[in-house]
């Protein structure tokens, strides 16, 4: 039998009041825009300087039309947007870094097609080949690439490089020869690091993607990305063999094979700028310059050189790997559509280009806006490519592209798994539907 003293009853009541209050407070309402209120909300996870530059130009353009832009920086939009769709609390436009997520949004019926909103025919000629395909789902354009980064790049320390007389290779064979030559000179050819907190492994997937698109061609690459071609296949094994040759061979990588999974991708390239370079080449995306030491960043053109990752055969097909942010429309009001057309204009990047790592996906973008020659070189690698191919792991289902592809390749590199097991695990993790 329960007996409650007077004081006990009071405090019990207080506790239950509080519990009920918390319970009720949990039922706060989520916002959502249905009607056209001449204000457009944008969410993105792009780097703050890129966002600031894009936002400035867009706000000016929109003001002329009487539209207010509310641009919010959010963390990890890929996850957030799916959660917010479930909660029915979405922005008007979301910048999605992964084509696969654009596909997921379309699957849930929340995205509106851009055909008829933007001038697709004009964009087809002005944009880098392949960029529109990246945002296309079921033959309709849903994601418009606004900013991009280029990943098929090899960076090197410019001054020592020139002194040693090395030259950019024009084929993968020439890259192997160059690697051997640097080693023969008593140096360590490659910097390599794939550690990236909870996302460890992604830099290795970039290597695989670059090699697969070169050995298999863009179509072979797309078949691999959509799992028509398995990981346990000749083309992936050819890529793995080349990766193994460059990265696992004794003396090829600073710190050796065992250091790859424990070295952070952001700092892996820094030994290039030691008085005597600790390593001589670092394959990484265009954003990596932001991670370099301060005194290097202060004068990139004097310190850093780069070449595009070479094609399989000299003069042959030369696709380029990259990523970027796909503007996706989650609202179909007139204001939102108007803002989408503004985002499709090349000059939207005029401000961002000067002050950030922004690369415009428009070939007719005014290259003088880029802050230095290095960035112009990065843009040139993309504009000269035969096809821009979106990061493959980003397009694979999350289980693979942000799961086993990272984890099992990491396990292979660090020696927990052999290649056969790793490839099989990745294939097995591919979801059935």
């Amino acid at each position: 039998m329960m007996r409650i003293h007077r004081r006990g009853r009071k405090s019990l009541a207080a506790v239950t009041v509080l519990a009920a209050a918390i319970a009720l407070a949990g039922c706060g309402s989520g916002g959502g825009s249905g009607k056209d209120d001449k204000s457009v909300t944008i969410w993105s996870s792009v780097d703050p300087p890129v966002q600031a530059g894009l936002s400035k130009v867009l706000t000016d353009k929109a003001k002329a039309e009487g539209i207010t832009i509310k641009w919010q920086k959010v963390e990890n939009i890929n996850q957030l947007i799916m959660q917010k769709i479930q909660a029915n609390d979405t922005p008007d436009i979301a910048f999605i870094p992964q084509p696969g997520v654009v596909g997921d949004i379309v699957k849930r019926g929340k995205a509106f097609p851009l055909d008829g909103v933007v001038d697709k025919a004009a964009l087809e000629t002005s944009m880098v080949p392949g960029t529109l395909e990246a945002g296309t789902v079921n033959n309709k354009l849903y994601g418009l690439l606004v900013s991009m980064n280029v990943k098929s790049l090899v960076l090197y320390p410019k001054k020592p490089w020139a002194k040693a007389g090395y030259t950019a290779p024009d084929s993968i064979d020439a890259l192997n020869t160059l690697t051997d030559k640097i080693k023969a000179d008593g140096n360590t050819p490659w910097c390599m690091g794939i550690e990236s907190d909870t996302a460890t492994g992604w830099p290795a997937t970039d290597w695989f993607e670059d090699l697969v698109m070169r050995y298999g061609g863009p179509d072979g690459y797309r078949d691999w990305v959509s799992h028509k071609v398995k990981f346990d296949s000749d083309v992936v094994r050819e890529a793995a063999a080349e990766f193994e040759k460059l990265m696992f061979t004794e003396g090829n990588v600073l710190g050796g094979r065992k250091a790859i999974a424990s070295t952070n991708f952001g700092t892996a390239g820094n030994p290039m700028f030691d008085a005597k370079p600790g390593c001589w080449m670092y394959k990484q995306g265009s954003f990596i310059t932001g991670f370099f030491p301060k005194q290097i960043v202060a004068d990139l053109d004097a310190n850093v050189g780069l070449f595009g990752f070479p094609p399989a055969q000299a003069g042959g097909e030369n696709p380029v790997l990259g990523g970027g942010d796909l503007a996706t429309m989650l609202d179909d009001s007139a204001s939102t559509k108007k803002v989408m057309t503004m985002l499709a204009e090349a000059d939207i990047g005029n401000d961002a280009a000067a002050t950030s790592s922004f690369i415009s996906p428009h070939k007719d973008f005014d290259a003088t806006k880029y802050p230095n020659d290095l960035t112009r070189q990065v843009a040139k690698v993309a504009y000269d490519s035969t096809e821009f191919l979106f990061d493959g792991s980003d397009q694979m289902p999350g289980e693979v592209g942000a799961g086993t592809f990272w984890k099992d390749i990491t396990a292979w590199i660090s020696g927990q798994e052999d290649l056969d097991t790793a490839l099989k695990n990745i294939d097995d993790s591919w979801p059935a539907s």
Binding site: A20, T263, G278
Partner: protein, 356 residues
């Protein structure tokens, strides 16, 4: 993609499948949202007060004999409803979801369970979790007890200092502790300056840097992760056990000494039996925490190099794979595993209360 480093969730409760949309995110909260949140809180408290006032009035309408009888139930009712709504309902929903596909649309029977249990990676995850359960609670109790006993013998200043230092990591969140220890274990390529203290020592002594978190032989890396939890939790065990030891009546110790018992005998045959209740409480509390362990593994390795545990696998199934079914199945397995421990704990508490 390079910016895909995941947001670290503030609170993960593997006990129930938390509706992800309700989880507070870091996304910018505008003034409007803040205002609306404040208003909901005020309205919520107001409504709750009103509810209780009404229930109270209702009870007062009854004959006074009935009023006293029914009031406690009226007061407890909303709390029961809240538990039903926020604990029992999600738990049931999770069980249902564990028999459904990734998007919780169609029933697929036991497929989530069979897929998981037949997967070699998941078997390793289970084994690693088991290792945590076997090692960490026992080690916490032993270390906590050791510190409590030894510091008990110091002068009071020394005791305070020792206890404060050992207790301090308790003030750090698991995520913070994991971040700190990532630096302890950090490895740079040979020839580069070592920022991790372990490798700084190793290289100073002339060795090559070791990538500690990749040393999966004999699960060394898992054990290195466990050390982080021990570091963070021994203080908790120490405080409870120290209080219990101080509560052991001095006359029992004196009686033992007069009877000629050695210190070791006194400890194991006089002290330990009298603080058994506290030892069990500490052991069970740590066991339950370890079964749900997530943050340390997520931050330090995200399960790479064969260090995965159930809590981390659950998080990745839900937030990387968007697989509600598999995530729910993991939670259900965890619930089933935790249940007997909980039942034992509740019984143990009841026995303690009855004995007291």
């Amino acid at each position: 993609v390079w910016d895909a480093q995941s947001r670290i969730p503030g609170d993960l409760v593997p006990g129930v499948l938390v509706p992800t949309a309700r989880r507070p995110g870091k996304e910018g909260v505008t003034d409007m949202k803040l205002l609306s949140a404040l208003l909901t809180v005020v309205a919520g408290i107001g409504a709750a007060l009103l509810l209780y006032w009404l229930l109270n009035k209702l009870a007062e309408l009854m004959p006074s004999k009935w009023e006293e009888r029914i009031k406690p139930f009226f007061y407890i009712l909303p709390a029961y409803l809240a538990i039903a709504l926020y604990l029992i309902y999600p738990a049931l929903q999770t069980i249902v979801a564990s028999f459904q596909d990734a998007t919780s649309d169609t029933f697929i029977g036991l497929e989530n369970y069979t897929n998981l249990l037949s997967n070699h990676g998941f078997q390793q995850t289970l084994f690693n979790t088991l290792l945590w359960i076997l090692i960490v609670p026992a080690a916490t109790v032993v270390l906590g007890l050791g510190v409590a006993v030894l510091s008990d013998r110091l002068k009071s200043g020394g005791e305070k200092l020792t206890k404060t230092i050992i207790f301090m990591p308790m003030a750090i969140s698991a995520v913070g502790a994991a971040t700190v220890w990532r630096f302890v274990y950090a490895a740079q390529p040979e020839g580069q300056p070592q920022i991790g203290i372990l490798n700084a020592v190793v290289t100073k002594l002339g060795g090559s840097p070791v990538a500690w978190l990749q040393q999966s032989d004999f699960h060394l890396n898992s054990i290195m992760l466990m050390i982080v939890l021990l570091w963070a939790q021994v203080g908790f065990a120490m405080v409870l056990l120290s209080a219990a030891i101080k509560g052991v009546p001095a006359d029992t110790l004196e009686a033992a000494r007069i009877d000629g018992a050695a210190e070791r005998q006194i400890f194991f045959q006089v002290v330990v039996p009298q603080i058994k209740g506290t030892i069990i409480t500490v052991f069970i509390t740590v066991t339950i925490a370890v079964m749900k362990i997530f943050d340390i593994v997520y931050v330090m390795t995200n399960g790479n190099f064969n260090t995965n545990v159930l809590g981390n696998e659950f998080y990745n199934q839900l937030n990387t794979n968007f697989n509600n079914g598999a995530a729910a199945a993991i939670v259900v397995m965890l619930m089933i595993a935790v249940l007997p421990v909980m039942v034992y704990q509740v019984r143990h508490f009841k026995d303690e209360e009855a004995a007291a």
